[in-house]
């Protein structure tokens, strides 16, 4: 697969098989610069498996993942240098303070001017009061913000967000969405975003991919896609994907 440097992420024929179970079945997609792509689908559709393969913590059975044109299988460290992620199921270690965690991960990512970057992110994510608080005693919303600060540490070209606003109240969630939109538009980054909140997806994502049983079933603009498939809302389309994927694959 030729590397296209206008894309921060290019995935081709990506497959993951666990013994008799095909979790991801030859999917192909890309994320362009300044683009936010929603990876949607019911539980068990293969979203987290896909994200784990892009993060290099799960080896694909076959297929390629190119990050900034770098083949993850051959240039893991260089590719992951351009990547970061936040996931509701991967909180920062609770026995370190917010600042210690950011310093620890900042050193691993080799962030230049690390202390300045940490202070900037602490302000950006409204964590000043919790700078020296252990992450384990933060509320789930505060932990999510700390996780997002860590995800932004290395100013990644590819940001993977797995349900980033799941633990946030609506006001903070809106602020976080605005920050991530700003991040995608003002840098050269692309974002791959999973969420079960269809309102949020419609507000944030430029493009969505609907995943079902390891396949990409639908792809398009979240604002026009429901209408193209005879549905009123994105949520209605989501429910159809979850319950009657065959109906959609035939349209």
């Amino acid at each position: 697969m030729a590397s296209d440097l206008s894309n921060v992420l290019s995935v081709a024929k990506l497959t993951k098989r666990y013994q008799d179970t095909l979790a991801v079945d030859g999917i192909a997609f890309h994320v362009a610069r300044n683009e936010i792509v929603g990876l949607l689908g019911p539980n068990g559709a293969g979203k987290t498996t896909t994200i784990n393969m892009i993060l290099g913590v799960l080896e694909p059975t076959s297929g390629t993942v190119l990050i900034q044109g770098l083949d993850l299988a051959k240039h893991r460290a260089e590719a992951l240098q351009h990547t970061n992620f936040a996931a509701v199921y991967a909180p920062l270690p609770g026995n370190l303070t917010v600042r210690q965690n950011l310093r620890f991960f900042g050193l691993i990512y080799g962030v230049a001017h690390l202390e300045d970057r940490i202070e900037h992110l602490i302000r950006e994510f409204d964590l000043e009061r919790f700078r020296d608080t252990k992450c384990g005693v933060l509320s789930s919303g505060e932990q999510t913000r700390a996780g997002l600060a860590k995800a932004m540490l290395n100013s990644p070209d590819l940001l993977l967000l797995d349900e980033p606003t799941a633990s946030l109240d609506p006001a903070i969630a809106r602020e976080v969405r605005a920050k991530i939109r700003e991040f995608a538009s003002q840098t050269k980054a692309g974002v791959l975003w999973t969420s079960h909140n269809m309102y949020e997806v419609q507000e944030v994502c430029d493009r969505v991919l609907f995943l079902s049983h390891g396949h990409i079933l639908l792809e398009g603009d979240p604002k026009t896609l429901p209408g193209e498939h005879g549905k009123e809302t994105l949520e209605e389309l989501f429910i159809t994907v979850a319950r009657e994927p065959l109906e959609l694959s035939q349209t």
Binding site: Y18, Q19, T48, T49, N52, L55, G56, V57, L58, E59, R76, A77, E78, L80, Q81, T83, F85, A87, Y89, A90, L92, P93, G94, N95, L96, T97, Q100, R103, F104, F105, L107, I108, Y109, G110, K150
Partner: protein
């Protein structure tokens, strides 16, 4: 290989040690108890032995060196367990950190924590029980290096075992030094052992250290050449340990265990 990334693992360990008595006390608590206990035992043995043989360098010195080895091994495993206990594998292995940088970070952590334990033991054994640790001469340096390297190798293998079998396998790790000690002749010459145990002893690097140490205590000159088999073996152990960890890690990435470690097994 970027040393800064390994340094991050070490820095994390310093953060965790700072202000955590539950982590600091074990660095010196158990080894201090061991030195006190064996210090008095050697004093008693000196008082009842008619031969005039000094048990302090033979037994207390051996205890000190064996405890040093144990602390080195546990220095590696404890730093690894921090990622197990805080469920940090996904965060840490989804970064540019390579497993070699990660292992080096564990080694850095172990150097720091085991040096701390060694100093406490030396102060206690010297000040209270008159152990002249430096009486072993320059050969002390290869003694400690071989034990250090073997501790690192076993620490890495033990970490691989826990990565492979899940967090509950931690309980396999703590008794490893006790399991090995009868074979390496910490307190007695290898000739005391039955032949099948001697066969094991000959492939365990610490055996050469303790045999050599006893030669010095018995008044024979310590020869670094006698340590060569132990030094050669320990290089093989280190290389083997790294390969085992790499293989277990690759399997965990292939099966998805890294991302779902708390499940202990993907199958």
């Amino acid at each position: 290989m970027q040393l800064g990334r390994s340094g991050a693992i070490f820095l994390r360990q310093l953060y965790l040690l700072r202000g955590s008595p539950a982590r600091i006390v074990p660095l010196f608590g158990w080894v201090a108890i061991d030195i006190v206990l064996w210090g008095f035992i050697t004093r008693y043995l000196n008082s009842v032995a008619r031969s005039g043989f000094n048990f302090v360098p033979a037994i207390l010195g051996a205890v000190l060196m064996w405890d040093f080895f144990s602390r080195v091994m546990q220095g590696v495993t404890t730093a690894f367990f921090e990622d197990v206990w805080s469920r940090n594998f996904l965060n840490i292995f989804a970064t540019p950190l390579s497993i070699w940088e990660y292992l080096l970070g564990l080694v850095f952590s172990s150097i720091f924590t085991s040096s701390f334990g060694l100093m406490v033991m030396l102060v206690l054994a010297t000040a209270v029980f008159d152990l002249s640790f430096f009486g072993y001469g320059l050969v002390l340096i290869p003694f400690l290096l071989i034990l250090f390297a073997f501790g690192i190798a076993l620490g890495i293998v033990a970490s691989a075992l826990v990565l492979r079998l899940g967090p509950a396998a931690e309980w396999f790790v703590w008794p490893i030094p006790a399991l090995i000690s009868p074979f390496v002749g910490v307190f007695y010459p290898l000739s005391t052992l039955p032949l099948w145990m001697q066969a094991f002893a000959h492939v365990l690097p610490p055996s050469y250290v303790f045999e050599s140490m006893r030669s010095i205590v018995a008044g024979r000159a310590g020869s670094p050449a006698g340590l060569l088999p132990g030094a050669s073996l320990v290089i093989v152990y280190i290389a083997g340990a790294c390969l085992i960890f790499a293989s277990v890690y690759r399997r965990a990435v292939r099966t998805g265990l890294i991302a779902r470690y708390s499940a202990e097994s993907i199958n």
